[in-house]
């Protein structure tokens, strides 16, 4: 990663008594694709709007190439943005929409025409320049919006859930387009979504938002393998949590006891925990091993449901304490054949694939 290109420093935003953004700090490298992922109301859009200049932060600063952006009004920031809703100018044709930022900048006509053609090619909509927005599908409109936002070569492109109004298949198609366009243009992108799959598919790094702060920043695999908080663990990938007792803790590792029958040592520990305290053990369905044979080192559970999900089979189980644990196995796995509801089975897991979250 090169030197910080865009720096967000302690940004805060309050609407009267409501704190939309508490304290957001972030360094973004040039050319990076960074996604804000988080539940509704966690402050993702507000952070983006502050970057765009539509909202003034209550505190903090934003630096682009080392210089503060905050005193620059929106229209001079030279930032591109694609919105959640369709924002093509309804009275202008597709070509005129893309030309708009260039006309505002008073570029010569020949240059504008060339750029419009280049942009239409980039988003693969050649031949559509005379259409009106109302004659285009939602996906096409968002592609034109992308072309319009990139036409003036902005250093940063903001995208606020641009695909949320589209159906799943179309969404995946345009995700590929966005990836390709990012690679082709090398523009820095800040992307907002609450769809983890979309975030994982698109981004170099993901910032997980929760209640106005960033809980963790990292690549998809980092967040998956090493969630810093229970919230991140819940948000990235599938997970189940079991209450457990801490036997001993230290050096970021813990030994724990579950269901009184079983102890496991050397599990990565997050948060604080001490001998005797209660904690939560996180397990991922796809990292659990299921066995029909009784074993001392396995956790005894009962099968409560089996669901066929195409290439996967989902086995829902219950511990003796009544906690639910899911197991995901590839279709045709020998452990599943002949398995029935109500069967007693034993689950095993690797200490490295589990996480303990203390207080």
């Amino acid at each position: 990663m090169s030197k910080p290109f865009l720096q967000i420093r302690g940004i805060r935003k309050e609407y009267g008594p409501v704190t939309a953004v508490q304290d957001v700090n972030l360094d973004v490298a040039q050319g990076e694709f960074l996604t804000f992922l988080g539940p509704s109301g966690s402050g993702k859009s507000t952070t983006l709007y502050i970057l765009a200049g539509f909202e003034d932060p209550t505190g903090g600063d934003i630096l682009l190439n080392g210089e503060s952006l905050l005193s620059t009004p929106s229209h001079k920031r030279n930032i591109g943005m694609v919105f959640q809703r369709y924002t093509l100018f309804p009275h202008l044709s597709v070509g005129e929409n893309i030309a708009f930022p260039l006309k505002v900048r008073r570029l010569p006509k020949a240059e504008i025409d060339a750029k419009v053609r280049q942009m239409l090619k980039l988003v693969r909509l050649e031949g559509f320049e005379d259409r009106k927005p109302a004659q285009m599908s939602g996906g096409q409109q968002q592609r034109v919006a992308l072309a319009r936002a990139l036409a003036y070569d902005p250093p940063v492109l903001l995208m606020d859930e641009p695909l949320s109004a589209l159906d799943k298949k179309l969404r995946e198609e345009i995700q590929h387009e966005i990836r390709r366009i990012h690679q082709q243009t090398e523009v820095t992108i800040l992307y907002v979504t609450h769809d983890q799959e979309e975030a994982l598919r698109l981004s170099d790094r993901i910032a997980v938002f929760s209640k106005g702060v960033i809980d963790q920043i990292g690549t998809g695999p980092e967040l998956y393998a090493n969630p810093a908080t229970r919230f991140v663990a819940e948000f990235i990938g599938d997970s189940d949590f079991l209450p457990c007792n801490v036997v001993s803790a230290g050096n970021g590792r813990a030994e724990i006891a579950i269901c009184e029958t079983m102890t496991v040592a050397d599990i990565p520990l997050h948060g604080t925990a001490s001998s005797g305290s209660k904690a939560a053990l996180m397990l991922r369905p796809e990292r659990l091993l299921l066995s029909k044979r009784q074993s001392e080192s396995g956790l005894p559970v009962t099968v409560s449901d089996i669901t066929f999900l195409g290439n996967n089979v989902h086995v829902a189980t219950k511990t003796s304490k009544g906690n639910n644990l899911s197991v995901r196995l590839p279709f045709g796995h020998e452990a599943i054949s002949g398995l029935n509801r109500g069967d007693a089975v034993w689950l095993k897991f690797d200490a490295e694939s589990a996480h303990v979250f203390g207080q």
Binding site: D56, T58, G59, G60, D61, L70, S71, P73
Partner: protein, 291 residues
């Protein structure tokens, strides 16, 4: 957007920004116009009712105590009520028919409704003055058909006013009623039929109750508009059958009695606003009227 000019830390980061007009400031020119040339004059007029010729409620005592003025109030409410009822009786079937008509036929009816609404009020009133006069077409046709022997007095009385005003108010009741009926899901009436209701029961038990809010809102609007109408009653009613708006004008123009004029204006104003309050309270719409 409200711009904060200072951050928490006290660092001002926006002073270089040109101060934009706030949203409230944008409404100021219109607000000044309205206060200066609407609120102030109306308030002054109403004040004069209790200050001229002498301070006190004398004007109101005279206005509400005399039988001459009482007859004018009766005329006003009578005509407005009649106009409302007749408009409603004619307007409901027309709105209903419009809602089920094929689009082409409906658009012709709409065009005629609009033409009638948009045509100059005086031109329309003039037409009725000519049509209704003793030697006018209506009397001629009636005599020609042998229905009457001598011409009916159709103008310069409340009959003329009622006909002319109904003509003017009809579009104002048909259009909102059409909107209400068009919004009713035909499936509801199919359901009523499946439940065993015959057409008459469907009408009385389902369609009418569903249309009642629209009818009430439209009727109230027509009634209120009629109460304050000036031009049509003045031209079709003749001098002997005055309505409230004419009385106000007469106090001011011929009698130059501002105290009584103000008092009559206040009465009209209070009734109008009270009825609008009822409408807002019970029907919650801000349906608008015309002149």
């Amino acid at each position: 957007m409200v711009s904060h000019t200072e951050t928490d830390s006290g660092r001002a980061y926006a002073p270089t920004r040109v101060r934009r007009l706030t949203d409230f400031e944008l409404t100021l020119p219109a607000l000044v116009l309205l206060v200066l040339f609407f609120v102030v004059p109306v308030v002054i007029l109403l004040m004069r009712s209790v200050t001229e010729p002498v301070p006190g409620l004398g004007n109101y005592v005279e206005l509400l105590g005399s039988s001459t003025y009482l007859r004018i109030f009766t005329n006003t409410f009578l005509v407005s009520g009649l106009v409302t009822v007749v408009s409603l009786l004619i307007g409901f079937p027309v709105a209903w028919a419009l809602a089920v008509m094929p689009g082409r036929a409906a658009s012709i009816v709409f065009a005629i409704l609009l033409l009638s609404m948009w045509t100059n009020l005086l031109a329309r009133t003039y037409a009725w003055m000519v049509l209704l006069q003793r030697t006018g077409v209506i009397n001629k046709v009636l005599i020609g058909l042998g229905l009457i022997d001598k011409p009916l007095p159709l103008v310069n009385n409340l009959t003329g006013v009622t006909i002319g005003m109904t003509y003017i108010m009809l579009p104002f009741i048909i259009l909102p009623l059409y909107g209400v009926i068009k919004k009713i899901d035909p499936a509801i009436l199919q359901a009523a039929a499946l439940c065993g209701a015959n057409r008459w029961q469907s009408l009385v038990r389902v369609l009418l109750p569903l249309a009642v809010p629209g009818m009430a809102a439209g009727a109230l609007m027509v009634f209120v508009m009629s109460l304050g109408y000036f031009v049509t009653p003045a031209l079709l009613g003749g001098t002997a059958n005055m309505m409230l708006a004419e009385l106000i004008a007469q106090f001011v123009q011929s009698l130059v009695n501002w105290g009584m004029g103000g008092a009559a204006a206040l009465v009209l104003l209070v009734v109008t606003l009270a009825l609008y309050a009822v409408q807002l309270r019970f029907f919650g719409t801000d349906r608008m009227g015309g002149r």
